[in-house]
Structure formats: C-alpha cells, structure tokens
C-alpha cells in the first residue's frame, strides 16, 4: 500500500489542479492583464515598504519598552504593550497582503515575458514560501507573547520580505527592456 501512495498522490494532485483550472477560468480574475495602475501601486508599495520596515523595527525595539517600564505605571505599560501588539499585527498582515500582491504581479508579468530564469524563480519561490511560513509564525507569536518577544524572528521576516522586494525591483527594471513579440524568440 505504501508504494501506491506516490502514484495516488500524483492522480489526486492532477485532479486538484484540474479543479483549480476550472475555477480560475470561471472566475477569470486571476487571468486579467496587468494594468499600469497596478504597476504604479506596486512601485508605491515598494517605496513605502523601505520606510515602513525601518519604522516598524524602531517601534518594536525593546528600548521604548524599557523606557516605559522604568518610568510609567503598570497600567500605562499594559496599554503601551496592547497598542504595540495591535500595531505589529496590523503591519504584519498588511505586509503579507502587499507581498502576496507583488508576487501575483510578478508571476503575471513573468508569464508574458522572456523571463523567468529558472534559478531566480526557484529561489524566489522558496523565499516566498519561507516568508509565508515565518510571517504566520510571527503572527501567532505576537498574538501569544506580545511584539517584543518576537523581535528576532520579526527581523528574519523583514529580511525575507526585503529579498522579495529586491527581486520585484529587478523585475520593474527589467520590464523596461522587455520587448514581447508573440511567437518569436530572441
């Protein structure tokens, strides 16, 4: 029975992808063309990402917490921690959404151009999967233990997201050079 499992899995995966292809052709939203607006929004997202990540690292640094601990009442400390927790959760969810839409844009663009390079795509795919995994872990960690306990792993998440943004930056740059002529090869 164990030897059957990979083959059964293969058959099962084919059927799952079959359903996905039907679903997306019915909904048609995944297949829409990339618009200039989307492209501008992506560029703006990249712009805000760099400044936001600096700001959030500062907001979640333990220096503020130590200051509050030393100078304010326990009630103020609780309010401070609660607010920072809310902020951290909101920011992380926002980053997850932003990276997901950048990734979506990248894949839609890569599908129509002479990219993708297999090595970059593989690396990006792995990093994106790692980002998704780690950012979800950070979300639950912040939820359970507060934002200041998750600072180190948060740094890792920020680095992963930064890598994805870098790749996207290259994508934006490369887009300028792209000349797509259907049916022809370079």
């Amino acid at each position: 029975m164990t030897s059957l499992l990979p083959i059964l899995l293969l058959g099962f995966l084919i059927l799952i992808f079959c359903v996905r292809i039907i679903r997306r052709s019915v909904r048609n939203d995944e297949l829409r063309a990339v618009t200039t607006d989307e492209y501008f929004r992506a560029a703006e997202a990249l712009d805000s990402w760099m400044t936001e990540s600096q700001a959030i690292t500062r907001i979640l640094s333990s220096a503020d917490l130590e200051f509050i601990k030393a100078s304010a009442s326990p009630e103020i400390q609780r309010i401070f921690e609660r607010e920072r927790k809310k902020l951290a959760l909101k920011w992380l969810r926002h980053v997850q959404k932003q990276i997901a839409s950048l990734m979506d844009l990248h894949l839609r663009l890569a599908g129509g151009t002479f990219d993708p390079a297999p090595r970059v795509e593989l690396e990006l795919g792995v990093k994106y999967a790692a980002f998704r995994l780690v950012s979800n872990m950070v979300l639950s960690m912040i939820w359970l233990r507060g934002p200041f306990k998750a600072t180190r792993i948060m740094g890792y998440t920020v680095r992963k997201a930064g890598y994805i943004c870098d790749v996207f930056k290259i994508r934006l740059e490369a887009a300028k050079r792209v000349d797509v002529y259907p049916g022809q090869d370079h």
Binding site: I7, G11, F12, Y39
Partner: protein
C-alpha cells in the same frame, strides 16, 4: 448491457467531437488532438469488433491497443504545451527544460522498474509498459498544469476544455493503474467502475468546449502595461533614488 451502452456512447461522442472539430476549423488549431481522438476512435471500433466476433483475442488486442492509446495520448501533452505557451516564451522555455528533465528521470525509473520485473509474458509486459507510460504522462501533465496555474497562463475556452478533460481522464487512470497492482482492494473496484464514467465525462467536456470556435486569449504584448514600461521604470528608479537619499541622510550622523 451497461458496459455496451458506455462503449457505444463513447464511440458516438468521439465521432461527434471529431466532426465538430473538423467543421469549426479547430482542426487547424489542434491537429494533434484530432489525430489522438481519431486513433482512439479507431481502437474503440477494433476492440468492439474483436469483442463481438472473436472474443478469444480480445485480451491481447486490448493490451496492445491500450499501449497504442498511451503512446498516442502524448500528442495531447505536446498540443497543450504548444498552444498554451505560444505567447509565453519565458514560461515555454522553463516548461521545456522542466518537462525534459522529468521525462528523462521518469523514463529511466520506469525502464529500471520494467527490467527488474523481468519478462513474464507479452500481455504482462505490454500492460506494465502502458502503466509506466501513463505515470510519466501524469507527471508531465501535472508539471504543465502547475506552470499554468502559477504563471496565470490564459488558455481560452477550447484549450481549457482539452486540458481539463484530459487531466480528469489521466488523473483517474493513474489512480486505477496504481490499484491494478493490488487487485482486490475495495477502492480498486470503485475506481475501476468510475473509469468509463470519467472517460465519458471527459468526452462530454471536449464536446461542449469544442462545439464552436471560441476567441483566443489576447497575447500579453497587447496589454496597456507593455506600452508604458519605460514610463513606469523611470518613475520606479526615481522612487528608489529618493528613498536611498532619505536613508543615507538618516544614517549619516
């Protein structure tokens, strides 16, 4: 009675699909699909003929034609690959490399498996070869579908129909082949009975989606974005330059 009904229905639907494909000029777009379906129709007729007139030869004829079907169905893989990625040269290059790698690995594995099993009888060897060909086909199809979903490749109605119908058939067939080696399993009986129904369903999907020629998806090059790459890239560079300036100012004491 039920089996005969499915058999005749399959032959009828195959004939209808072939007629529609020829009539709607989809034949020019999907010639390999047309050849595959013609081959299937021919084998179905031969099997039906042998089954009713010389049932004693049915088993060897079945396994030989099954092998022929498995080989012919690779034409659909080529057809889907060729048509779907015509406007996506980057993904086509990636897919070609991935499919070739998977094909070589899978064929080597299947060849090792076949040679290790030894030669017992011609029907058995044919059945084993047919099964391995289906596994390889399943892997190639899965890779291709994954690429379509990942890179949001637009297939159009006809090609979606061909892909979905074919995937449905191959998916259930692969599961059936897996269970054949452990006959007597309850799931094996269920899938065995499901197989003809799945084939009829695949034929019905082909019949509906190939009934008339649907418009082709527009190539990405005609999108608005392609015409304005330069503007966007210049703007992006400006954004990065200003952000870098700000960062340098913050970092400097």
């Amino acid at each position: 009675m039920g089996a005969n009904f499915i058999w005749w229905s399959a032959i009828a639907i195959e004939a209808v699909v072939l007629l529609r494909v020829a009539h709607t000029k989809l034949l020019k777009k999907y010639p390999l699909f047309f050849c595959y379906l013609t081959c299937i129709l021919a084998t179905e007729i031969v099997r039906l003929y042998v089954h009713s007139l010389t049932p004693i030869y049915y088993a060897p004829v079945y396994w030989c034609t099954e092998l022929l079907d498995a080989v012919a169905s690779y034409a659909i893989i080529v057809e889907i690959f060729r048509t779907a990625l015509r406007n996506n040269p980057g993904v086509a290059r990636l897919a070609r490399n991935m499919l070739l790698t998977i094909f070589v690995i899978a064929v080597s594995y299947a060849a090792t498996d076949l040679s290790a099993g030894g030669f017992i009888s011609l029907p058995r060897a044919t059945a084993d070869l047919g099964r391995d060909l289906r596994y390889v086909e399943g892997m190639l199809l899965l890779t291709m579908m994954w690429l379509f979903v990942r890179y949001r490749i637009r297939l159009g109605r006809s090609l979606t129909g061909i892909t979905v119908g074919y995937a449905l058939w191959v998916g259930v067939n692969v599961m059936d082949m897996a269970f054949l080696s452990s006959a007597g399993h309850e799931a094996s009986m269920f899938i065995r009975q499901l197989l003809p129904v799945t084939y009829l369903l695949a034929l019905a999907i082909w019949c509906v989606t190939l009934w008339s020629a649907a418009p082709e998806p527009m190539p990405v090059a005609t999108n608005e974005i392609e015409n304005r790459y330069a503007i966007v890239a210049v703007r992006t560079r400006a954004i990065f330059a200003s952000t870098s300036d700000r960062l340098i100012r913050v970092i400097k004491p």
